[in-house]
Symmetry: C2
Subunit: 320 residues, 2 copies
C-alpha cells in the first residue's frame, strides 16, 4: 500500500531533501539512468535525480515519433539551460514497426511498453552499465492500472512484474506518493521553468493515445498538426489538459462542391486538479469555431471537428 | 434545368393552386400513391396530393425500423386529424436484412433505396394499381446528388434512371423547385400543424444516417434513445436541425472504477435557412452538459459525448 501525500500537506523542500537522500543511498556509487519525455513527471524526476547523482545520472530522450512537433530538440535545449545533459535517441522506426496493424488500445500500449523497455531502453541501459532506473510514476498511474482502466506504461510492481528479473535493472520511483498537483509543486521548487513544470500532461503513449485505430506515420502527422493548432489556441487558458484526437470513423464532408469522405478530429479540454475527476472546459464558441476552422483548413483530410462535452467519469482524459 | 423558386418570391396560395392543377391533369382519373415519412417535404406533398386527388391518393407510412420512437403512430394520428388516412406498413425485417453487414454510407443508402422502392414500396404500388407516385424531392436533394456529395434516395431522373422503366410507375415531384424554407411556407399555407411543417428535417435514411458503421437492431435502439434525449432537450431552440450520431469508434471510459471500452454519441445542432450552408448552434454549456449527462446515464453503452463544432461546408448536415 502506497502512502499518499496530498498536495496540501506537501513540504516541497523537505520532500526533495528526503528523495535526494533516498536515491543517494540506493544508488551508492553506481550509475542510474532515466528517460525524459518532457512532461512534468519525468522532468521533475530528472531534476531530483540530477541533484542526487549529478553526472552519474544519464538522461535520455527517446524519440519514438509519437511526440509533438520539434519536441525532442525543445526538451533537450530546455534542460541544457538547467545544466542537465540530455541525449536524444532516434527510435522512430522501432516504434512504427511495433505499432503496425494494431488497433486495440491495450495492445497499442503494450507494444509501446515492450518496444520502450525491452528493445530500445533495455539496450541503452545495458550499454550504459546502469543498474538503476529512475521513473516518474505517480499515484494516479498506479490507481488506474490496478483498476484495469488503463495499463500505464510505467507501472510494473502492481502488476506482479519484477523489473529486475524482466529488464535487468531496479526501478526507483520518487514521485509515487504524489498526484499531478503535488508533482507540479515539487517541480516548481526544483527550478523547472514555467513552460515545463506547468506543462499540460502528455502521457507515455503520447500521440499514439490520440489516434483511434492504427498508428501510422501519416496518421501521426495528421494528429501532430491538429495538436499543434489546439495547443497554440488553448495555450492561454489555464485548463488542466487539452488535446486533439484523430478518429478512425469516416464522416461525409464536401470540398469544392464534391463529396469528401473524410476524417474527424475530436478536441478535449479538461478542468481538473488531479486527473481523477475532470469536466470539459466551458470554452467560448469564438475559440471553438476558431479551432475547427484552423484544423479544417490546415490539416489535410479533416472535414469535421467535435468538442468533447462528457465528464470523467465515465469518460477518461485520453480517448485510447 | 430546374427553375428555382426562391422563398422570398414564393406566393404559397398560387403555388399550391398550380401544383394541384398539374397533379389533376397528370393523374386524370387514375390512382396515385405516396409514402409519408412525417418530415416537412413528404407531409407537404401529402397535403397537396390530397387536395388534388382526395381518396384517389393512397398514402402509406412505411415503418422501416429507422424512425424515431413512436413515430409511425404519431404521424398517422396527426394526419387523421387533417382528414387524411395513412396506412402503416410494417417492413422492419426487410430493411434490417438489407442493411446487415453494410458499413459504407453510399451502400447503406443504396440498400435502403432498393428495399424501399423495389421490394416494399414496389409491391404496395403494384397491389394498389397506382401508376403515379407523388414524391417530396426538393432542389437541394437534386443538387447534392448531381454533385455526388450524397445519393438522395428520391432522385432518379438526374441520375439517368427512368422510374417508369425501373419501377413501373411515373414520379410526380411538386416541390422540386423549392428549398426547405419554401417548403415550410407551403406546408404552413396547407394547414399543416406547427409540429409538422416546422419540424426538423429527418431525411429518408433516417436513423441509418445517424449510425456510423453497421446498422443493427441494437445500434438502432441506442441511437433512437439518444435521439429522443437530444430532441427533448433541444426542442425549445429554433435550430434548423439537431441530431444524435452513434460512432463506430470505441473510446476508453470508466464505470464504477473499472475500465469500460464504450461508445460515443456525437451531437449536431445546426443553424441554417436552406441546408446548403450551416453553422453549429452556439448552445450554452448548461445545455451541452445536460445533454451529455442524460445520454451517459440513460443510453446503455455510451461513455462519451461530443458536440460538432465544424461548419458545412466542409462538413455536411448528416454524418453518413
Amino acid at each position: 500500500m502506497i502512502k499518499e501525500i496530498l498536495a496540501r500537506d506537501l513540504n516541497p523542500e523537505q520532500f526533495i531533501h528526503e528523495k535526494v537522500n533516498e536515491i543517494k543511498d540506493t544508488v551508492g556509487n553506481g550509475i542510474a539512468i532515466n528517460a525524459l519525455s518532457g512532461g512534468v513527471d519525468s522532468s521533475t524526476v530528472t531534476m531530483i535525480g540530477h541533484r542526487a547523482l549529478g553526472d552519474r545520472l544519464k538522461t535520455v530522450f527517446i524519440d519514438n515519433d509519437l511526440m509533438r512537433q520539434g519536441e525532442p530538440e525543445a526538451v533537450a535545449a530546455s534542460f541544457r539551460k538547467l545544466g542537465v545533459k540530455v541525449e536524444i535517441i532516434n527510435a522512430k522506426e522501432d516504434f512504427l514497426a511495433a505499432l503496425k496493424g494494431i488497433t486495440d488500445p491495450e495492445e497499442k500500449r503494450e507494444a509501446i511498453t515492450q518496444t520502450f523497455y525491452k528493445k530500445v531502453f533495455g539496450q541503452i541501459v545495458r550499454e550504459s552499465g546502469a543498474k538503476f532506473l529512475l521513473q516518474g510514476t505517480i499515484l494516479t498511474d498506479v490507481d488506474e492500472t490496478i483498476a484495469g482502466i488503463k495499463r500505464q506504461h510505467n507501472v510494473f510492481e502492481q502488476l506482479g512484474i519484477d523489473p529486475q528479473e524482466a529488464f535487468g535493472y531496479r526501478i526507483i520511483e520518487p514521485l509515487i506518493q504524489l498526484r499531478k498537483d503535488g508533482v507540479r509543486i515539487v517541480g516548481k521548487a526544483l527550478g523547472l521553468p514555467e513552460g515545463s513544470f506547468a506543462r499540460i500532461p502528455f502521457p507515455g503513449p503520447a500521440l499514439a493515445a490520440r489516434i483511434i485505430g492504427e498508428v501510422t506515420k501519416e496518421r501521426l502527422d495528421t494528429v501532430r498538426k491538429a495538436t499543434a493548432i489546439v495547443e497554440k489556441l488553448l495555450g492561454h487558458t489555464d485548463a488542466f489538459q487539452y488535446m486533439a484526437i484523430l478518429h478512425h470513423d469516416r464522416v461525409t464532408g464536401m470540398r469544392d462542391g464534391k463529396r469528401d469522405y473524410g476524417q474527424q478530429i475530436e478536441i478535449r479540454c479538461w478542468e481538473s486538479t488531479d486527473a481523477r475527476v475532470a469536466t470539459p472546459t466551458r470554452l467560448s464558441f469564438e475559440i471553438l469555431e476558431k479551432l475547427a476552422g484552423e484544423i479544417i483548413n490546415e490539416v489535410p483530410g479533416i472535414v469535421s471537428v467535435t468538442y468533447n462535452i462528457a465528464p470523467k467519469p465515465p469518460s477518461t482524459i485520453e480517448a485510447v
